[in-house]
């Protein structure tokens, strides 16, 4: 695989761009693999890459029902942060952050990880106290975090509403300087190309329709491209985990819900950070192309439809103007929906399953993008060794039975309220 570099661009420019190779091969399935990863999104591709890179397992296929990166990895608002409160989450997301920091160079693909800092506004002394609790936990776990007062926030993001007419005046904020955004598609493509470079077969337009069994064990999959044998099967199909889980006989505490995302027309730089509104559901950043990329709350009912409700569009716009009155004349260019696996505690499920040979990676709720590298890393470890990686020890399926749930928001077991 030819390396990407400024020099390769220069050389190819002189030869009329005729010598670039495919980013990954157009593979067709072999009869069997050591590991099949179902799902050619960020998590599945990262898993395949780390199986090869960290564990030397190269006889791997990634099966994607559509095209690589066509699911949530290419539909999200690209925020990356590691500001988690609960033991079990904090270290996992910080590990992910560290992987992000080296990702472009590790993959030789610029994923444009931009550590521009993320802040969440606080609107009362109590809310700022609870943010301080979080920030304290972060610092005590070696993660950068700061608490800002109103004037600090004003200096950093003067375009927020500091006027007397603000319905929920800004009191302060929690800030993580290392947080930021990345180019979502590049993450999928970068992992695909790097995994392909290690010999992984990436097979697009290949939908898994069932599982092959030997007794109680899963030994392969049925697909639209025929039967494929596998030593182990890893499931990484965000949004559709229940559907495929059901085919394998797994009963899961997951509901699929739509989360909408929005982008405005491209503008000259206006928002230099990731900003989230602590009084309502709204978060925004500005892409390198110039569009303001933002989102809000779940639509709030089970859905696989990848489209949202007009009422939510309106609510998100209201929150946008409440936080940033100056974007009232900025125009919404496009909005779309992604299907989220919501769990009853808003934390993921990533573990071996009760079914021999089947491993599960799902339930990422609306936070899967930032977890992509650590999820792939830990899932690869779990598949390779058969045992959960220590960083995902808390993400077992059994926690709902035992009560060891990780409910960051304390919102309770109704998935749509998370």
């Amino acid at each position: 695989m030819a390396r990407y570099s400024a020099f390769s661009i220069f050389r190819n420019a002189l030869s009329g761009q005729k010598n670039w190779q495919r980013a990954w091969r157009a593979a067709e399935p072999k009869p069997s693999y050591d590991v099949i990863v179902i799902g050619g999104g960020g998590h599945g591709l990262a898993t395949a890459f780390y199986l090869a890179e960290n564990h030397g397992i190269r006889n791997v296929a990634v099966l994607e029902k559509g095209y690589v990166g066509g699911g949530n990895v290419g539909r999200n608002t690209t925020v990356i942060r590691s500001n988690y409160l609960l033991d079990g989450n904090t270290q996992f997301y910080e590990f992910s952050m560290k992987l992000w920091e080296g990702m472009s160079r590790a993959l030789n693909f610029n994923v444009m990880f931009s550590q521009r800092g993320q802040l969440v506004t606080a609107h009362s002394a109590d809310q700022l106290d609870s943010f301080s609790h979080r920030a304290n936990v972060m610092r005590l776990n070696g993660i950068d975090a700061d608490i800002l007062d109103r004037e600090d926030v004003r200096r950093l993001v003067p375009y927020l509403d500091f006027s007397d007419t603000a319905r929920f005046p800004i009191h302060g904020a929690i800030f993580q300087g290392r947080a930021g955004t990345a180019r979502h598609d590049a993450v999928a493509w970068g992992y695909a190309r790097a995994a392909d470079g290690h010999g992984v077969d990436i097979i697009q337009n290949c939908e898994v329709t069932g599982f092959l069994r030997d007794g109680d064990s899963i030994v392969g999959v049925e697909t639209t491209k025929g039967r494929i044998g596998a030593g182990k099967v890893g499931l990484a199909v965000a949004g559709h985990t229940s559907v495929l889980g059901a085919k394998a006989g797994l009963e899961l505490p997951i509901e699929s819900h739509v989360l909408q995302a929005f982008v405005t027309e491209p503008l000259k730089p206006l928002v230099d950070h990731v900003v989230a509104y602590g009084a309502d559901h709204f978060y925004v950043s500005q892409s390198d192309k110039g569009g303001l990329v933002f989102g809000g709350n779940l639509d709030g009912y089970n859905s696989y439809a990848q489209r949202g409700n007009l009422g939510v569009v309106r609510e998100v716009a209201e929150a946008a103007i409440a936080l940033m009155p100056c974007i009232s004349r900025v125009r919404l260019l496009r909005h779309w929906g992604g299907v989220m696996d919501m769990t009853p505690d808003a934390s993921p499920i990533i573990c071996p399953t009760p079914i021999e040979g089947l491993f599960l990676n799902g339930g990422w709720c609306y936070g899967g993008f930032k977890a992509t590298p650590a999820s792939g890393w830990c899932f690869a470890h779990t598949i390779a060794t058969g045992k959960p990686h220590p960083l995902i020890a808390a993400y077992g399926l059994d926690r709902f039975r035992t009560g060891h749930t990780l409910d960051e928001a304390g919102a309770g077991p109704s998935a749509w309220l998370q």
Partner: protein
């Protein structure tokens, strides 16, 4: 925007309703001591890509809880009934509690 035909109030916008989740799971009796039954009721969901029976409350309206059958792939609503009527149908010989 989803619109739901409330059996009492007619076709109303989504934002007048409160979602109540999967209506196909059976709530155990209030004094059922079986942890497995409660675990399944609270956590396990079929989550179908297709017809889904679900609770909605017309909370900004008649406040009745409804059971709606809706296709999760395209949001088309097949039926709406008062939850209370459904429960009555299930146990026609209701008797007042002792």
């Amino acid at each position: 925007m989803l619109r739901i035909e409330c059996p009492c109030c007619g076709l109303r916008d989504h934002d007048e309703f409160r979602y109540g989740g999967d209506a196909s799971v059976m709530r155990p009796a209030h004094d059922d001591p079986d942890p497995q039954a409660w675990y399944r009721y609270v956590y396990i969901r079929a989550n179908p890509a297709g017809l889904h029976r679900e609770f909605w409350q017309h909370v900004i309206g008649c406040r009745q809880w409804l059971v709606v059958e809706r296709d999760t792939r395209n949001h088309a609503i097949a039926s709406v009934e008062l939850a209370r009527q459904l429960s009555a149908r299930k146990s026609p010989a209701r008797k007042p509690p002792a």
